[in-house]
């Protein structure tokens, strides 16, 4: 059997929007990467003490070296990875249960509740930061990656419920019924059958959590007063009277890499996550 693309003629012209878009996307990154490999700051006391003589515009790897020599920056990478992983660990199980309920059952007020969850995603973050700060400081959570992970559930849980709901709906309902007839408890059904089948959906939902959480600024700023600063805040802290733009760009380039790797690993699930339903 021929695949669907064989039925669509693809001349290079039909690919044009995607090609032009990628070129457009690429140009600012070219500038970013270009700067990150060049010396952008005049030699100052620090560099002369360390004995390196460089000139502005020189091709260099020093910016990347400086990132790893700067303990605040390396610590911020660990902090970012920690709170994003924590956030995924909190979000996915909670969203999975809710998504399962929305997908398989109709219950009183389900449609309103579904929209209600999305509504919470619409709260302006700038206003929410103060009450969240007061609430979290009352519970002594400030300055920990856990606080940011918890706060980011505000926008990640609604999105994950929505993504997972669509993936669960793609799995035939007969599967659940057979499992329950076989005497599976709902807990065992989730662990043994649903979660393995749902791996693509969980991967995609995790990517969405990662994406919205990794780059967030407002909560990340207020919840880390003295320590536990994520990458976004560590970059902000680099701006001063004399900013080493090379260092800032090198840090930015490095901050993009984990997410790019992640999308590379979930790419097939974005494309093929729904195949199960087509079979049935």
């Amino acid at each position: 059997m021929k695949s669907k693309s064989d039925y669509l003629k693809h001349s290079p012209i039909s690919r044009l929007p995607a090609i032009i878009y990628i070129i457009f996307l690429f140009l600012p990154f070219l500038l970013l990467v270009y700067i990150s490999f060049h010396v952008t700051i005049h030699e100052n006391r620090w560099t002369s003490v360390h004995g390196s003589s460089t000139y502005v515009g020189q091709l260099t790897l020093l910016n990347y070296l400086h990132v790893f020599q700067n303990s605040a920056l390396t610590a911020s990478m660990i902090n970012s990875v920690t709170f994003v992983l924590l956030n995924i660990l909190i979000t996915i199980p909670v969203a999975l249960l809710a998504a399962y309920a929305f997908s398989r059952y109709s219950f009183k007020g389900d449609k309103h509740l579904f929209f209600g969850f999305l509504v919470l995603r619409m709260t302006p973050p700038v206003v929410m930061v103060l009450p969240v700060f007061l609430l979290f400081s009352a519970l002594d959570l400030i300055n920990t990656p856990f606080a940011i992970a918890l706060a980011h559930c505000l926008f990640n849980v609604p999105i994950s419920i929505w993504v997972l709901e669509s993936f669960i709906s793609a799995i035939p309902k007969e599967l659940d019924e057979t499992a329950f007839l076989d005497g599976y408890s709902i807990f065992r059904f989730f662990i043994r059958i649903l979660i393995p089948l749902l791996a693509p959906g969980i991967a995609v939902a995790s990517f969405f959590c990662f994406m919205f959480s990794w780059v967030e600024v407002a909560f990340a700023r207020i919840l880390t007063v003295t320590q536990g600063k994520p990458i976004t805040m560590a970059i902000s802290a680099l701006f001063s009277y004399i900013t080493d733009v090379g260092l800032v760009t090198a840090m930015t380039v490095l901050s993009i890499i984990p997410g790019a790797l992640m999308i590379y690993f979930v790419r097939n699930h974005i494309a093929k996550g729904f195949i199960i339903r087509q079979v049935s």
Partner: protein, 296 residues
């Protein structure tokens, strides 16, 4: 093609963890914001009940309505460019082969840049653009010319967020069975017919989500615009988000909370309108099923 769902009110138990979590991180803070907006807060422990005074003040100021108009206009431009563009790119993307990974990875990059770095990168890009346009005699003064600033911020937002629309559309396009295309080919359908009668209906539910996400985020945009040109030239790019951000930065919390509540109500109302408008077209799309199919 809505599958028959069993009615079971015990399903509420499965939703309870999500309710508790969101109750803690969203509902309680939201109620606190409402409380702040009804008081004049000097310091957290000392506040005076002022009722709706701040609401009247904000809603009767011409500055609010001007910002509101500009923000609505901005969101409209964003939706009218990013949604069709996202659809066009998703349709023209390869659906299999090595190029899929290349496309997806490249397109994800702007979404992964820390938000505070977006305006910095774009300041550099726009300066280069300004210089190169000047050499061919075109004046592009993106800092002082209001129209050019608007071009700049729209370009920046298209660069930053179109990929999200592309991903959502792309994921629903890949679910169309090959048989659909096969039948269309046998019927001699044109490329446009395939798009209009097969691909577009399939994407409808996802598009609602894309529209909602892009609407709420563009309506509240703050960081990028503020650090690019601080709402200037004059007040030509002063959006609701910037008005709010300035009050928060000035620790003027009660008026800020008032604005927050007003903005929240506006966003919910507009989102509700989108939802109802799109739900009128019934769709069997999996992604948007819940919010597009209303009465089962």
């Amino acid at each position: 093609m809505v599958s028959v769902k069993s009615t079971n009110n015990r399903a509420w138990f499965l939703v309870i963890p999500a309710l508790l979590l969101l109750g803690f991180v969203a509902v309680i803070p939201l109620l606190m914001v409402v409380d702040f907006s009804l008081h004049d807060v000097f310091i957290i422990t000392s506040k005076v009940w002022v009722g709706l005074e701040f609401y009247i003040k904000v809603l009767s100021s011409s500055r609010f309505w001007e910002s509101f108009g500009r923000t609505l206009f901005f969101s409209a431009i964003i939706l009218f460019t990013e949604i069709p563009l996202g659809i066009a790119i998703a349709v023209s993307m390869p659906k299999k082969g090595a190029m899929v990974a290349v496309c997806l990875v490249f397109m994800s990059l702007p979404l992964l840049v820390p938000w505070n770095m977006i305006p910095m990168i774009w300041t550099g890009v726009l300066n280069i653009l300004e210089k190169s346009l000047a050499t061919i005699g075109i004046d592009f003064n993106w800092k002082l010319n209001a129209f050019h600033t608007w071009i700049a911020i729209v370009l920046m937002d298209v660069w930053h967020w179109t990929s999200l629309v592309v991903f959502l559309c792309y994921s629903s396009l890949t679910t169309i069975p090959a048989a659909f295309y096969q039948t269309a080919a046998i019927d001699g359908a044109s490329r446009w017919d395939v798009f209009r009668y097969i691909e577009l209906p399939k994407m409808r539910g996802v598009l609602l989500m894309a529209i909602l996400l892009r609407f709420m985020d563009s309506f509240m945009i703050w960081t990028e615009i503020y650090y690019l040109n601080a709402g200037g030239p004059l007040t030509w790019t002063m959006f609701l988000g910037i008005d709010l951000g300035e009050e928060v930065l000035a620790f003027d919390y009660s008026p800020a909370a008032t604005r927050g509540v007003i903005y929240f109500i506006i966003i919910v109302a507009v989102s509700w309108m989108f939802k109802t408008a799109l739900a009128a077209h019934k769709s069997d799309n999996k992604y948007g099923k819940k919010i597009t199919v209303d009465d089962g």
